[in-house]
Amino acid sequence: MAAPKVAVVGAGVIGLSTALCIAETCPSCSVMVLSDQFSPNTTSDVAAGMLIPHTYPGTPIHVQKQWFKETFTYLFAISNSAEASEAGIHLVSGWQVFKNTPKEELPFWSDVVLGFRPMSEAELQKFPQHRFGQAFTTLKCDCPPYLLWLEKRLKATGVQMYTRKVADLWELHSEYNIVVNCAGIGAHQLVGDEKLFPVRGQVLKVHAPWVKNFIRDGDGLTYIYPGIHRVTLGGTREKESWSLSPDPGATKGIFDRCCSLEPSLRGAQDIKVKVGLRPSRQCVRLQREVLSQGGVKLPVVHNYGHGAGGFSVHRGTAKEAARLVGECIAALQGSSSRAKL
């Protein structure tokens, strides 16, 4: 197969990073990104982009750790380079605080982030309602900058991007040899995955440039993540809610909870409300499938269902997806050479 044509459906952090990995590992491939939404209108654009993993109940921990480590290492190198500001990648230090001591005092990722240690008594005094905490330094991917930087890298390697709503993966079978499904929450309709469900997240993006540290409540519901220009205040975790409309009650709740963690936020300006639907699943669907109709086959690689942890594992899952694309190509070449006999 001379130049396999690969379509990547989806242009959030998963789609773009997967397309980039495929272009990097398969220079002869002709890769195209198809999506009905591009930055700043993807789910990724709503997320804060913090590298703090979400635990998938259905994936072995060592696999999740590998994905996180690969992603962290990749972004660490960018944050240390001249491209850091353009790519929107920066280090940020802070605290994860718990009202009740967690069962697991050492999360699986504690040795991947930098300087992980329990908070001192003096540090905890700043959080009178919390009894335990962890201090560490991690990375943040600001969007849109990171997605725009990925788009720029893609264009430089010859990957084209097209605004197109794909209603059914099969519609691509005549134009492409392989389809990579990075449709995120869109996979619910696109491939009818009933195991994929939205977890609605509302956030506030505010102007509060004096906030230099992140603060996260270990319950995952309240967090303060300082980005390049804005601080993301969160949040909500509403299972099975498909509503993309901001909820004023949630806005007040988020603001009050964040101000209780960081009182200076009362002075925050220019509050913007955003909503995103985390594409949640027991485990990330990262696997090959072959669609076939009337004797015609279409190899598909799925890479969706990253829920609350997309940024934390994006590079790791993108690399695995690219590896699976390589397997698809090998299988196609194997069957085409068999066809020649």
Binding site: S81, V92, T137, S264, G267
Partner: protein
Amino acid sequence: MRVAVIGAGVIGLSTALCIHEQYHSLVPSLEMEVYADRYTPHTTSDGAAGLWQPYLSDHGNLQETLWNKETFDYLLGHLGSPAAKEMGLFLISGYNLFTQPVPDPSWKNIVLGFRNLTPKELELFPGYSYGWFNTALMLECRSYLPWLTNRLMQRGVKFFHKKVESFQEVSDNGMDVVINCTGVRAGELQPDPELQPGRGQVIKVLAPWVKHFIITHDIESGIYNSPYIIPGSEFTVLGGIYQHGNWNEENSAQDHKTIWENCCRLLPALQKAKIVQEWSGLRPARPWVRLERETVRHEHFQAEVIHNYGHGGFGITIHWGCAMAAARLFGSILQEKKLASPPQPRL
């Protein structure tokens, strides 16, 4: 009781406020006036990035370490208050970098979460093999000085834009006590060979992705002569110049080059940062802070002077501890003048 405060930098204004807060209710006749030829944003304090961090070694000066601690604890206590934003006060974490292991500083237990850097963290800083991480405070004077000024004006303190030429001039005006917070130019009021300018230059840039302070140290070059990067609420300050004895307040192209090249080497992404301002200032350097009373006599006049100057590059770091100490000296003056005796029970 008329009090004149000379100098309106962080030392002058905080000392004025500290004294007024403690004594105005005990001394109803207290009238305070501030005299300065430079006010915010033109003081030395305004040029400082505002990071709370003492020098590496306290040279056995435990008094100054205590004043530093008092200041940190005082500011930490204000962090959660509604005034924090207006004061320009916020927490910040960051790195101190060295080319060789060094002993822990006197302030390791004052700041929050002090620890050594891990090998992986040191990968971020090629050329540096040892370092510290801690969380400290920022107090930006372009907000703090106006905040202090407002508090003082609310209390009825008067401000005069005037260069005071002598203690006598102020005493002739009927001042009972003079608080001398004249910083680097204290020698113009009374010669002090120990006081020297420690010239610094900084470049202010827009680099909002930088969330940590990074301070490098070169034991050979001495304090502040090694690059540092300090992110503020609006601008990031790049620095690394300390020239003892240099009175020049003009920006130097050579120093600009030194700062820019060194800081960009430390953080390559800074090359893309937009330069917004360049500034030079004179740190009021002295082997130790001059914080003491003096009765200044000359022919027919006598004035009680409290000196509070010579805070070098750590004025913001130490200011409140010194203000409290100056207030205690003021209290002793009041006692001597029998103006602040404890209330007597009425018979």
